[in-house]
Amino acid sequence: MKENKVKLAKYLKEHFPAIIEKDYNYNRIDFSINRELVPSVLRLLKEESGYIHLSHISCVDWLEEEEFELVFIIWSPVDKIKILIHTRIDRNNPVMDNIDKIWRQANTYEREIKEMYGIEFTGLEAADEFLLEDWNGMPPMRRDFDTAAYASNKYYNRPGREDAMDVREEIARHSGEEIPDFAKKYSR
């Protein structure tokens, strides 16, 4: 495994001198590269090195650094190593290259990231709406979207849950029932 990782890092360095590697003590190796080169790296790894399985595409919002981090996780059934490819894009102008020509399932991941973070994927062919319906506001997974404030403004909150009080007696009185003895001993 160790030799495979070294070989892989050397191979990628030859093709992409700007790539930065980070090794881990289990079957994982990370690479960082700027966003224009990501599709070429992925295509090279898939077609030449046997990393045929795209496991995951994830996105992290680094609000403090004004950046989005995109992570592509790929896996080789031969080498038995997972590679995480990190790239950072500008938060104010989030654009990324579409990779669903390399792996078809990437389409779904990209649709979700587009909706949840507002990242544009160039050439992505899919319907605009994915999980949300009639949403007009900030993409909800961004760090500066406050879901608790949104929910308390929009939805009715039943009183009684903020102080975690035991309301069973009140409910029992309301419905004209009695709390059985075995349940009484669990009251707070």
Binding site: L132, D134, Y150, S152, Y155, N157, R161
Partner: protein, 181 residues
């Protein structure tokens, strides 16, 4: 229609007796609670002995089970389904998240109190309720029907404006037809 008050009472009693023993549940798993419905319906718990069984379409169903949290996208469909159902119809709210939002109280996409949007006859709490609890909910509903107290549908007709206002508050793009009794 029978004009005599006492005869009407007897007829209602017979109606309610019949309704109570044939509760057809609409097969619409709106949330996670749907996973406890197959055990409830199959051999061990066997809800069919109470006259509870599945119905495929809203027009043939008597009982709408809201099995858990409702997102605004589902709420729109659930309202549509509920209004298509024929009288008499009943609603059971299933799980903590229909009562006060449960563990999704701060989610931007789920409603927190079901009875603001649909008339709920019985709530079953728990996350998720066990089949015994579900059956207890069914029997409670049957008791209410016998007593003539399961009048959610009548309440909905009466207070339609209030319900509509709440529904339109959370559903941004109201493209549904107005209710046609």
């Amino acid at each position: 229609m029978i004009n005599d008050k006492n005869s009407q009472k007897i007829v209602d009693h017979i109606h309610n007796f019949a309704r109570k023993h044939s509760l057809w549940v609409l097969a619409y798993g709106t949330g996670c609670g749907a996973i406890e419905i197959p055990p409830t319906m199959t051999s061990r718990y066997d809800a069919e002995r109470l006259g509870v069984r599945g119905a495929a379409t809203p027009r043939q169903a008597d009982l709408l089970l809201i099995t858990g949290y409702l997102t605004t996208k589902t709420l729109k469909r659930v309202i549509r389904v509920y209004e298509q159902m024929q009288d008499p119809k009943y609603v059971i709210g299933f799980g903590s998240c229909t009562i006060n939002g449960g563990m999704y109280y701060d989610s931007y996409n789920t409603i927190n109190a079901l009875d603001r949007y649909l008339p709920v006859d019985v709530y079953i709490n728990g996350c998720m309720p066990r089949p015994e609890a579900v059956i207890a909910g069914f029997t409670k509903l049957q008791e209410l029907i016998t007593a003539g107290k399961a009048d959610g549908a009548a309440k909905y007709k009466e207070k339609l404006e209030w319900y509509r206002k709440n529904q339109k508050n959370v559903i941004p793009n109201w493209t549904m037809p107005e209710y046609n009794w």
